[in-house]
Symmetry: C2
């Protein structure tokens, strides 16, 4: 799936701002606009969009075939490993425009080193316009077709939770559960997770960015499962926390506080509310019960083709929600050396409210 | 494993160059220097090294526990999602140095956007020194301990090839083989691959950067398997091409040409030879037989904690090899719509020659 109409929107934006060229080099943006999905690592991949000429892709020669398979309708220029890619890009640009005045860049992705290469080759060109925010705006409202794909990714995440729940028992390691999730997905043809399934038992879950380890499950503890899948470049991301054996009232209370924060925030979502208000709703609930200091991250992040994208759902985000925006709601309570609870769904904003992409139960499961 | 002595080397380098600070924000560099392994995605992670004071790590608050677990002996400063990380970093730096004259940056990693944040906060500071090349030099000669880890990663890759060979049969899909490789590794406790195993059948292998697909294996074709594993942050990367059923003389010839290029290049490796000469040895062999136009990438890339690192082994790389350098040798011949062959081992340079990290046979297997 390519987005030629969005490339045309960028060309129009360039024209309105009287900028000659957009130099797009974030491979996630290129994936979004062209359907071609490849991280060039240290090689050079760029999409050059002109205000009034046909765009072209510049890529390593070994990517040409794969780009053609994505039905790219315009030119592809490529380079060999022993050639200087920047010189070749510059030559191709100069063939189209003899003296570009302004080139817009993705400042949140372009490195200082690459910009220096470009400014050496275009000494008379102004590179001070950043296109990042405009691209965020292009991507933030998901089309019906995009929401369909996100729903499909959500279904795959629900499937993965069922595997996880089935594999939890005393003595199993975090890594074993993660392995079985991954394997069951791949056996079903779901080849890509958006990140390795994160499984954390008991107090290990107090590290929200810890890694799945060889810790073994013991009775009477909470287990956190955070996972995500990829469907046709679109991502799911969800977290459930479940109990193995009998848990204490305190464990249950903390779970229910986190759940209340999750449900109340989701309940409040509708066009017109701000991201900041939403974060506040969840944060106030957790704070009211005395756990505010243990909710050590924002409420959520945008989702789409990227795992974390615009908009940010945090205390400092003034963005007003609109129909078609997609993001996570993931309150968490992390008590060092004791436990961690996080409950996460991604949602899309509808005309009057929102819907979740994942539907695995949030009632506390006791396995 | 942290590398405090390498941090001290950087401090010494700063002192020699009269630079106050190195601003390290490539998470791979931070992993190498501190042992802490986490991609902060859109959050901010930095290691601040002073020429004459103790370094500190600056990280999202939810990473603090994980960094402590890596025995980081110096200060950790953290920020919450609703705080401005750059302001906090700047304040902490200013507490140490009231008026830094020069801050060195990783220009190949720092984005234009982040540099702008820094220059706004340090308006009187010069940011034009790039530390990238020095860090490449710090990392390029692997210690005996690092080579031990790379050898262990290589053994895991050899294990993965055995799984792959066992799973190849008529009708199996590329994805099924990839899935089984991954699962068998994880069942053995080898939790991370350095990239998803790339399996390509027949003419699909003519796209050296194509993706593992649902194409089914048919008799009488060549099958390319490129895979890599991670052992304690150190990476393996190797490729084998094998035959399913009977193949033609032409297929065999092309395989043997690629093998000759692989073996002759490996045979030529020793301290003192240049990367360019090495690439030339392999390229000349392939060219001599008439397939030079189908070897469309460089001969190899450095390896260590990163899948692709310094040094580059290409026609344009003048680096002279030294004992302890580690890199791939991976000649390939890709004939569009027909076949692809690549044979890859990573090696480390010894006193008189080199040794490979992987030892899976390179004799053409006919499965």
């Amino acid at each position: 799936m390519n987005n030629i109409s969005k490339i045309q929107s960028i060309a129009k934006w360039l024209s309105q701002k009287n900028i000659d060229i957009a130099f797009i080099n974030n491979f996630n943006t290129i994936k979004y606009l062209t359907g071609f999905n490849s991280d060039p690592i240290e090689r050079v991949l760029a999409l050059i969009i002109f205000k009034d000429k046909e765009p072209f892709i510049f890529c390593p020669s070994l990517e040409v075939e794969a780009i053609k398979e994505n039905n790219w309708p315009y030119e592809i220029y490529s380079y060999m490993d022993d050639e200087d890619p920047y010189k070749l890009i510059a030559n191709t640009i100069y063939k189209n425009i003899s003296n570009p005045q302004k080139i817009a860049i993705e400042a949140k992705n372009l490195t200082v080193f690459k910009l220096k290469k470009l400014t050496n080759l275009f000494p008379n060109t102004n590179f001070s316009t950043y296109i990042d925010d405009y691209i965020d705006q292009l991507r933030v409202i998901k089309s019906e077709q995009e929401i369909e794909l996100l729903l499909k990714a959500g279904k795959d995440a629900d499937f993965a939770f069922q595997t996880a729940f089935n594999k939890i028992h005393e003595g199993v390691t975090e890594q074993q559960i993660s392995t079985e999730i991954d394997y069951s997905l791949k056996k079903k043809g779901i080849m890509h997770t958006s990140f390795d399934p994160l499984i954390q038992f008991g107090k290990h879950a107090a590290e929200p960015h810890g890694e799945t380890s060889d810790i073994k499950a013991t009775k009477n503890e909470l287990i956190l499962i955070d996972l995500g899948t990829v469907y046709n470049n679109y991502i799911s991301d969800a977290t459930r926390t479940v109990a193995l054996g009998k848990i204490t009232d305190r464990q249950k209370d903390i779970y229910n506080i986190c759940l209340e924060a999750n449900l109340e925030a989701i309940n409040a979502i509708k066009p017109g509310i701000s991201a900041k208000e939403l974060d506040g709703i969840a944060r106030n609930i957790i704070t009211k019960y005395g756990y505010g200091d243990y909710f050590i991250h924002r409420l959520g992040h945008g989702i789409g083709q990227s795992e974390h994208e615009y908009p940010d759902i945090s205390q400092s985000s003034n963005i007003i929600l609109k129909k078609g925006m997609c993001f996570s709601i993931e309150p968490g309570i992390y008590i060092p050396n004791e436990l961690g609870v996080r409950i996460e769904d991604c949602v899309y904003v509808t005309k009057n409210g929102c819907k979740t992409f994942t539907n695995t139960t949030k009632k506390l499961l006791q396995l």
